[in-house]
Amino acid sequence: MANNKKVIVPIGPYHPLLEEPEFFELYCDGEEVVDIEWIAGYNHRGIEKLSESKHYDQVTFLVERICGICSTSHPIAYCNAVEDLCGIEIPERAKYIRSIIGELERLHSHLLWVGLAGHFLGYNTVFMWAWKYREGILDMFEMITGNRNHYAMLRIGGVRRDIEDQDIPVLKKTLSEVKDKIKMLTEAVLDDPVLAARLKGIGVLKKEDIKNYGAVGPVARASGIDIDVRKDDPYAAYKIVEWKVITTESGDVFDKAVVRLLECFESIKIIEQCLDAIYRKKGEICKEIREIPEGEGIGRHEAPRGEVFHYVRSDGRTTNPVRHKIRAPSYVNIPTFKSSCIGETISDVCIILAGVDPCYCCTERLAVYDKDKKKKIYSFQDLVKKSIEKTEKIKKEIGKEVKLWKKLL
């Protein structure tokens, strides 16, 4: 290919390996990625606008629908924001229950990520293991909340459901079983020479990249920046229980996996302490809030993917927020791809985008991009034609002609 031409490899928006509709354009020069463009909006549902027409109590359930994986992160951040606005403290028992739900979610989300990462690398054993052990956590969710996902546990002022005393020994037993399995998985993943060869030293994010893009969560912690809302701006029970922030130094994909896997053990530690704290004790789980005064509040929560930020403004007269700004962690984490992907090869970008696999079936929408910026998108028929031409060329070269391909046209 001439030097002035670059190939765009489009990934998405609807791709068998993507969890959600998102669209990346990789500008490639041979195998090397020279630029990357992120096109979003396929999943834009106008939740901020919708929230302005809902009652404060309804918004808790609305924001739960933002994400299917970390579904309780947004309600926690939203409730924190409204409680900050009103200046109220929630009952202690509710604090523990919030932390239990938040940490169980981190566990299942990190395991889901590890499984998917293994799957994208072609290491399906990791995928099967991680997702199998994740089931135990989902069972615990079902036991506490009645649901495997979208738990609807949060309420402004506390939580909606209590954890029964009779459930706690069962929950602790399940948790210790899950812990052994995660330990085995962690050791297997971290000691695997193939995974180390594949993941170490790729997609490195430096400290200044993290600062420039405002990246949060395990992405920042893998680059040695120890930010964690649970420690820095404690809410729920994170101030009461004992745990530590996991950080690593090199900022590559391997370190991101290490941070996530080790965080699982911290989460288990937090859940165990919280379950002990509420066992055989009674207490209020929700404070009644009659009115939301005029003002503004900011709430945060450390979701599995990083800090979730909610800003709520009330005018004190109506029962719905005047403005509700939501910022999910991916909003600041995804743009770091501009730093981490450029200069890498297509095959590594797959795991750097973590969950985005630029497999070659994408080329059914391959676009050729040339100097005067005119784009040509090949249709399916064009590509079939091109592919047949190529096959015929090869066949001619080896002196045989195959008629079968012609029938496809």
């Binding site: 909006g41 900011i298 403005r323 600041v332």
Partner: protein, 145 residues
């Protein structure tokens, strides 16, 4: 924390609202905003969080949220007001590269123009979205009509 900011920004701060020890709101004139953000982001080392755009009855409001993670987790929000008729403010992409996407989002959803933004095009809405319809403004129905 607040003393440090006061010392650096001095009379650029028009109003200080301390909601509690972890939530501080500072009102800054829109012409001073770039300098103020430079001080907070580069000199004081705060983490950029996000920008909130709000439509009020007679003006537009932008809140630039910054987090001082190691200083008690304080969130400092810089508040600035823009006129209703032609809301315009200088883009901060030269200071914070990551701010580019939220500026695009506020531009398309609220119609606030960011002067000097290198790539001000649709982000969440589709490319052929009707010009002049800003869905997050009050009075615009959620279907965009």
């Amino acid at each position: 924390m607040i003393d440090k900011i006061k010392e650096k920004l001095k009379d650029k701060i028009k109003e200080i609202k301390i909601h509690n020890e972890r939530r501080i709101y500072l009102t800054i004139d829109k012409n001073d905003l770039k300098d103020a953000v430079n001080v907070i982001f580069n000199e004081l080392g705060a983490r950029y969080q996000i920008v909130t755009g709000i439509e009020n009855f007679n003006n537009f409001e932008l809140l630039y949220h910054f987090s001082f993670d190691k200083e008690n987790g304080t969130i400092v929000s810089l508040r600035t007001f823009l006129e209703k008729e032609k809301p315009e403010i200088e883009s901060l992409t030269s200071i914070i590269p990551g701010i580019s996407y939220i500026e695009r989002e506020i531009w398309e959803l609220l119609g606030i123009n960011f002067v000097g933004h290198p790539n001000l095009k649709h982000f969440l809405l589709r490319d052929d979205w009707k010009e002049g319809v800003y869905p997050l403004r009050k009075g615009v129905k959620t279907d965009g009509k």
